[in-house]
Amino acid sequence: MRVVAFDAGELPAYLDEGGHLLPGAQAPDPDLALRLYRQMLLARRLDIRCVNLQRQGRIGTYPPAAGQEGVQIGAAMAMAQADWLFPSYRDGAAAAARGMPLDAMVAYWMGHPRGGIAPAGVNVFPFSIPVGSHIPHAAGMAWAARLRGEDACALCLFGDGATSEGDFHEGLNFAAVMRAPAVFVCQNNGYAISVPFRRQTAAEHIAAKAAGYGMPGLTVDGNDVFAVHAAVAAALARGRAGKGPTLIEAMTYRLGPHTTSDDPSRYRTPEEEAGARAREPLGRVAAYLEAAGLLGAAARAQLTAEVDAEVDAAVTEALAAPPADPGDITAFTVADGGRADA
């Protein structure tokens, strides 16, 4: 993958498609590698479970993230505690990595009013449903942090389709003009529902858009979690150093349908999908960890069981939640009937 422009030095790539360390790449920190893997695995297992729950009619339409864990976990785990995450609907993996409780996410897709809400201290904005519209929020939050002299950065996740929206443009432009410490991570999975990337833009790469805002833009292999982690860490450091925002395009693929209502066979070939499966991010890290002697097959099975238990507990909790309270419909429209709090 090509680095279009970046001032933090050449960014390293780590893993090839088979999970082998690339020639010249430095081995990632073992502890970090294990933590990234665990979080990716957890996300994948939860994702599979949610698809099943939808098939059983226990939750509503669900947008699977499988295949995009490399970007989401690599990015989320490069963030500091004070940083804020601005996710789209597909970014539950990143949200979970930032501390969003799993059961809250399941509850969200169940259509439960208590779902999807970050607990205090977890700086995860609610999933943005209108595509691209959260990008200015990230710019604003990061700008506010700079104004207050605080160290918090914004990290915003969105898709290739989102880059066509006016709000992508306005958000990135504001961030650059205000030198806001924001990192914009585009998950270029090649499709916006059925519309292929080539119909989304005539530019070869999303990263090419960065220059128009006077910010660095780079393209990384989004299925190389270590590469994403390094790129996002460098971009966050750049933001914290007062140098402004960065646009990162992470090339990836969604292995499943757009949502559980979608049938991707109408617009993707089996060959394309098979090729993408061979490049998917989770297996790569597993292969790497095994080869590096960090996580053998037995330990991996054990970890999978552990993670599954976590998923089970969350699903059980979500399904056992008290029924939605009709009072919630109007209770939160405005604060206390509109009384000022200042």
Partner: protein
């Protein structure tokens, strides 16, 4: 006459328009290759080609804005917006340009375009996929708003909208897409934009509804008939221009009115309907016009949507209470 679902009738209407008029272009997100997220445009790209059934970039203001340029140049763009909540990024183009182009150029340039959009709730959808925002567009001189509740009207109103020389917002009750069927003429025909339809005649109270609230109103009418209340159900079909004459005529006969909508109460189009009825039939009114609407709150997560969207029982209760007033 083949039996059609509402969405089948829309697809059929689009096919008729594409076949009959080379100026017609169907455009929007996912309308081409996969035929739309609801399959309203299924098969059209194969049949008419990728230059007339066009997958666009993901940008609603761009869709509306390019459609205005296309329409001004002489095409007849029919743009799909995936859900009504996602028409919002296009509001400036619709208000500042589409609605005003004819007026500001005295007809030298016009914007004969249609924006089709599924609207409404009760389909267990994620956030912002269940909006009913007709009131925004009904407050917009220069734009018409149509909203069918039956397959036949869906096809006929859509063809009228495409033929109309001015911009039309075409609201499709997605809850009814596949739940209602009726015989629909296979050939091209129009149901004129403007006239309302009496969906059920009655003498005691006028119930005014559109889109997915029409079946709810009919069910309520059937229900109160058990109490001996004969409710007349009026399906507006076109919100603007509003068929004030039919409303006035009905209320002058019944003396009572209930207006039903999925949008939230304050500033909803029901307020306009109520105000018009009061203006046109004040001396006949034996009770205030009742409004059965969603409450003043954002559309809730779907486990609560049954409590948000008006149900037949809510309509029946309102009918009983205006009759008892």
């Amino acid at each position: 006459m083949p039996e059609q679902t509402l969405i089948g009738a829309i697809r059929d209407g689009l096919a008729c328009a594409l076949a009959a008029d080379p100026r017609v272009v169907v455009m929007g997100e996912d309308v081409g290759r996969v035929g739309g997220v609801f399959r309203a445009t299924e098969g059209l790209q194969e049949r008419f080609g990728a230059e007339r059934v066009v997958d666009t970039p993901l940008a609603e203001s761009g869709i509306a804005g390019t459609a205005i340029g296309m329409a001004a140049y002489g095409l007849r763009p029919v743009a799909e917006m995936q859900f009504m909540g996602f028409v919002l990024p296009a509001v400036d183009q619709i208000v500042s340009h589409a609605a005003r182009l004819r007026a500001r150029t005295h007809g030298r340039f016009t914007a004969p375009l249609v924006i089709r959009t599924p609207y409404g709730g009760l389909i267990r959808a994620p956030e912002l996929h269940s909006e009913s925002l007709e009131a925004f567009f009904c407050h917009l001189p220069g734009v018409k708003v149509a909203c069918p509740s039956t397959p036949r009207d869906a096809k006929g109103l859509l063809l009228a909208a495409i033929a109309d020389p001015d911009p039309v917002i075409f609201m499709e009750p997605m809850r009814l897409y596949r739940s209602v069927r009726e015989d629909v003429p296979a050939e091209s025909f129009t149901v004129p934009l403007g006239p309302a339809r009496i969906a059920r005649p009655g003498r005691d109270v006028s119930v005014i509804a559109w889109g997915a609230m029409v079946p709810a109103a009919l069910r309520a009418a059937a229900d109160v008939a058990g109490d001996g209340i004969e409710a007349e159900v009026i399906d507006l079909r076109t919100l603007t221009p509003l068929d004030e004459a039919s409303l006035a005529d009905s209320v002058r006969r019944t003396g009572r009115a209930v207006v039903v909508h999925e949008g939230v109460r304050t500033g909803g189009f029901g307020a306009e309907v109520a105000a018009r009825i009061a203006e046109a039939a004040f001396l006949y009114l034996q009770a205030p016009v009742a409004r059965v609407t969603a409450p003043d709150a954002p559309y809730p997560p779907f486990l609560l949507e049954d409590r948000f969207v008006p149900q037949p029982a809510d309509v029946a209760a309102a009918i009983r209470s205006v009759v008892a007033f």
